[in-house]
């Protein structure tokens, strides 16, 4: 369904959008299967409504919010972002959603809260991929507090002006455009303020390959893929990958003084 009352955002790139069909048929969403086409093929019975997100942990105002309330109470913005997968491909996607910071503030995080942890729904009936222990379910991700509060960080509710299709993480997902795609956790049911760095699913799966930060960085190779270049879906030649996926001006300050080779 169409999302009403969307405003445009100055954070959008003017690069050429990827095709709707490509954005919705080429997905890494292991909950529906590990093939790129599995999420589209296996998500026919997925029920993104009703849906509640529980927000708790180190905050003064823990609680829940339903997806309808979230979409009704918060201004929905269109944000056209580059999305760079750790597998060295990328897309340009017109997301719709709300700044994560505006939602988090409502729950009033305490000063001890240093990180935010996100969890995907665990429901093998709806997510057939969860029947096999390919990775440790449920999928978990995390951001440092300042990353979570950064104005670029989006909680997406839609793409191309419509509600998110299941394969893209319905009904609500994270979008952190300067990090590899796997940080942008899908189908979120829980957000928790914590004082210690959460161990994300991929860190747990292969600690030498995936770090907590996962900032797009052409100078730090993944052991299995060079990250210097990427293939924009729909293009033939690989193009050079940009530091922080081209968002260095906005986010490089967050990592000042950090060794990004160690904190990969």
């Amino acid at each position: 369904q169409k999302i009403e009352g969307i405003i445009k955002s100055p954070f959008s790139t003017d690069e050429k959008l990827n095709k709707y069909d490509d954005v919705t048929s080429y997905n890494n969403f292991y909950e529906f299967g590990t093939g790129k086409g599995d999420p589209l093929d296996n998500s026919g019975d997925f029920q993104p409504k009703p849906w509640t997100i529980k927000v708790d942990g180190l905050c003064n105002n823990p609680g829940e919010i339903g997806i309808e309330d979230l979409m009704g109470q918060y201004q929905q913005e269109e944000r056209i972002y580059r999305m760079r997968c750790v597998e060295a491909w990328s897309m340009v996607i017109p997301w719709v959603g709300v700044e994560l910071a505006s939602l988090l503030k409502k729950f009033d995080p305490k000063t001890e809260a240093k990180y935010v942890e996100f969890t995907t729904l665990f429901d093998p009936k709806q997510f057939p991929g969860q029947k096999y222990p390919i990775i440790a379910w449920p999928y978990t991700e995390g951001l440092r507090m300042d990353e979570a509060m950064h104005p670029l960080t989006l909680l997406a509710t839609g793409i191309f002006g419509e509600e998110l299709p299941p394969q893209n993480g319905a009904p609500i997902r994270l979008v952190v455009p300067w990090k590899y795609g796997f940080k942008s956790i899908k189908s979120i049911v829980r957000i928790r303020f914590v004082d210690k760095m959460p161990t994300s699913t991929w860190m747990q799966q292969a600690p030498s390959e995936y770090g907590f930060y996962a900032n797009v960085n052409p100078d730090v190779d993944h052991p299995r893929w060079t990250q210097a270049k990427e293939r924009r879906i729909g293009e033939f030649f690989r193009r050079p990958t940009l530091a922080f996926n081209g968002y260095a001006e906005e986010v490089a300050d967050l990592y000042k003084g950090m060794d990004l080779r160690k904190n990969f």
């Binding site: 048929s25 590990t34 790129k36 491909w89 292969a206 299995r224 210097a228 033939f236 690989r238």
Partner: protein, 204 residues
């Protein structure tokens, strides 16, 4: 043999073996290979290389287990198709996926074990393909030719390891290939050492 048959089987098998390649060419022209066709092509060619390698190894196993001597007629062709798909796999990796970006390709070979292993397996396939004609068997002498072609065992193992190392988390598919390979190699080991093992027991 083939002269007595009404239907020529060998050309038919040959065409069947070409179907995966035809399917990819068809997909390229109809645009049905998905959002990332280069990845699809590369992956598909890799899959078919492994399948033909295992099929080639399965032929003598089938002959021994089922007693079907006729299957041996297809072994060389199947083996050459494994080489054919492996060669296309490499060509697409170099010429299309990386568009002859030799610096990146060289770094890939040196740095990434799955590519190092895959590339080695591919290089080792070349002498087998070159010595596949019957005349080469005569030139080399049967014993030496046989010895050379035992290279197919490490090649197949490297092929499966190459696949195993490249998947991110879901190792089920490479494990299936690995299981089949283990059976095919196990049958050979059992045939070779199993009997002498029993013989040793009978002396005792």
């Amino acid at each position: 043999m083939a002269g007595k048959r009404k239907i020529p089987i060998k050309p038919f098998v040959f065409l069947v073996c070409l179907l995966p390649a035809f399917w990819l060419v068809y997909g390229i022209f109809t645009g049905t290979l998905g959002a990332n066709p280069i990845e699809t092509i590369l992956r598909d060619l890799g899959d078919w290389t492994l399948r033909f390698l295992l099929l080639g190894l399965a032929i003598s196993t089938v002959r021994r287990l089922m007693g079907w001597a006729w299957v041996m007629r297809y072994r060389r062709m199947i083996g050459l198709f494994a080489f054919f798909y492996a060669f296309l796999h490499l060509a697409v990796y170099i010429g299309i996926d990386h568009f002859f970006d030799w610096a990146t390709i060289w770094k890939d070979i040196v740095k990434r074990p799955y590519i190092t292993i895959g590339m080695t397996a591919l290089l080792l396939l070349i002498p087998l393909a070159v010595t596949s004609p019957k005349i080469m068997v005569r030139k080399l002498g049967g014993a030496r030719w046989k010895k050379l072609h035992k290279l197919v065992y490490p090649i197949a193992i490297m092929g499966v390891v190459h696949f195993y190392l490249l998947v991110k988390a879901d190792v089920r598919e490479p494990l299936i290939y690995g299981g089949i390979l283990l059976f095919l190699l196990g049958e050979r080991l059992y045939r070779r050492y199993g009997e002498s093992f029993q013989f040793a027991k009978s002396i005792r």
